[in-house]
């Protein structure tokens, strides 16, 4: 068991997502940054499907009520084990009553805390990913108890980190493909959307990221059709919205671009006022 001592701004449990229920209008959810989450599970030899804790903007604290192994990947929130700084991307042995805390941000927006053999919270519609009105909780609160399995941890920490390339967390360019309605854009907008730099507005969440700079939109609305995480919608007011993991399954705004899976991971590590640029490939 893990006890939440501080929940931070937004801390949730996520796995790869809820598949097979889109026909009932259920969002896929799941980890925002697959790359970081997969690395955390891999370091512990977990299956990639195992659920982890997704921490947004740091300032969370957890007490382990049993021994286990953990790994922290993604954003660097200067994590500490019993008030001693610990590295990211490393297998860390945890003894009963150890406290892991996350503080201020060095880089990134979302960190992943994986535990040996995964978080064992409730499964609803075949997934443990938190989502309002689907799971009983949609964010962790102070005092919550998170079920995990005991794993005897007799080794001592050597803190040998896996070397990873952090470029994807910092890079502005998001690789994307033409969306189904891209060709309806005016020639001017086709060029503008690829050349212009956009800033992320304060309205950014697991559901989607609104961008500050509107285009001069002339495309009509479409008959409601599927949208996916990574779909870039053009609203009637010209504002672009990039949908993320908690997005709805269908929408009526034209889908002008579609982010690559890698670009979704990059965007997941960005927030308000960060700059992005679309890098369109065919």
């Amino acid at each position: 068991m893990i006890k939440v001592l501080k929940a931070g701004i937004l801390t949730t449990i996520q796995d790869q997502g809820r598949f097979g229920f889109a026909a009932f209008g259920v969002p896929v959810s799941g980890v925002m940054d697959n790359k970081a989450a997969n690395l955390a599970n891999s370091i512990l030899n977990n299956k990639l499907e195992e659920a982890l804790i997704e921490i947004t903007f740091g300032y969370a604290e957890f007490q382990f009520l049993i021994s286990t192994e953990i790994a922290i990947c993604g954003a660097d929130f200067t994590p500490e084990l019993n008030h001693v700084k610990i590295p990211l991307n490393t297998k860390i042995y945890i003894q009963k009553n150890d406290v892991i805390s996350f503080g201020k941000t060095k880089y990134g927006v979302r960190a992943y805390l994986a535990v040996k053999s995964g978080i064992k919270s409730e499964k609803v519609l075949k997934s443990r990913s938190f989502y309002k009105n689907i799971t009983s909780k949609y964010q962790l609160r102070k005092g919550d108890i998170i079920p995990i399995k005991t794993f005897s941890s007799i080794n001592t920490n050597t803190f040998t980190s896996v070397k990873i390339n952090l470029d994807y967390i910092k890079k502005e360019k998001l690789t994307c493909f033409k969306g189904p309605e891209f060709d309806l854009l005016s020639e001017q907008n086709k060029q503008l959307i690829c050349k212009q730099k956009f800033t992320i507005s304060k309205e950014n969440s697991r559901m989607g990221y609104r961008l500050n700079e509107p285009l001069n939109n002339t495309i009509p609305q479409i008959l409601t059709s599927a949208v996916l995480p990574g779909t870039v919608q053009l609203t009637p007011s010209g504002v672009l919205i990039i949908l993320m993991k908690d997005c709805q399954v269908t929408g009526g705004y034209p889908r002008v671009l579609q982010l690559s899976e890698q670009a979704i991971c990059s965007l997941a590590q960005k927030s308000t006022n960060d700059i992005i640029q679309f890098n369109l490939i065919n």
Binding site: G179, T224, A226, E261
Partner: protein, 243 residues
Amino acid sequence: MKLSKQPSYKSFGEKAILVEWEAIISQENLTKILSFKDQVSKQITGISELIIGYNSLTILYKNVIEDLSNEIDNLKEIYESLTNNKTTKKCTWEIPVCYDKEFGIDLEFIAKRNNLSISTIIELHARSLYTVFFIGFLPGFPYLSGLDEALYVDRKAAPELNIKKGAVAIGGKQTGIYTTNSPGGWHVIGNSPLKFFDASKESPCFINAGDQIKFIAISKEEHQAILLEIESGNFKPKTIVND
């Protein structure tokens, strides 16, 4: 009977193919989409989701699509061999809606914009028999065809931040029900007390694509009474089974 000409096939990111029919809301499109979806799910492996739209089917694969044109050829072949056999039974559901101004916060806007009285809006909305095209946008949100043309009204330019659970609304040429509290860009005309989505059930929606819906106008008192019945577990949505 053979289905008519092929729809269009487009790549939609690395993992999905978007199949589109003529951009109209029609029973003909729905029948084609449902039978195609049925066969694709039976014949193609490695599919993660099949998402229906009014004139589209999005096929989301578990993995990145390596050979797009080969995959599209497979789909085309399945479409070629489809036949128009209607087999599954569809239901008609009676959905109670309270159109009181307390719930129908955008009735006045539509009345002005479309030059109709509020009572005419309610009468037109409750008169039609609607077909459920698909569930989307929110868990359990049914997309319906059959809205009277006089009630067409463009979606809001910027979405409202909090539309209440049960809100019955109009967006463009469509009408639907907000099944949970949610942001949304449609104009709200009333509220239904029913529970349209239950995550504890393996099949979480009682309404399915292809079913039909009839809205029944109810008073505020009846709305409250049904809410209480649902809370106590004594309410079952009413249906008429179609042929």
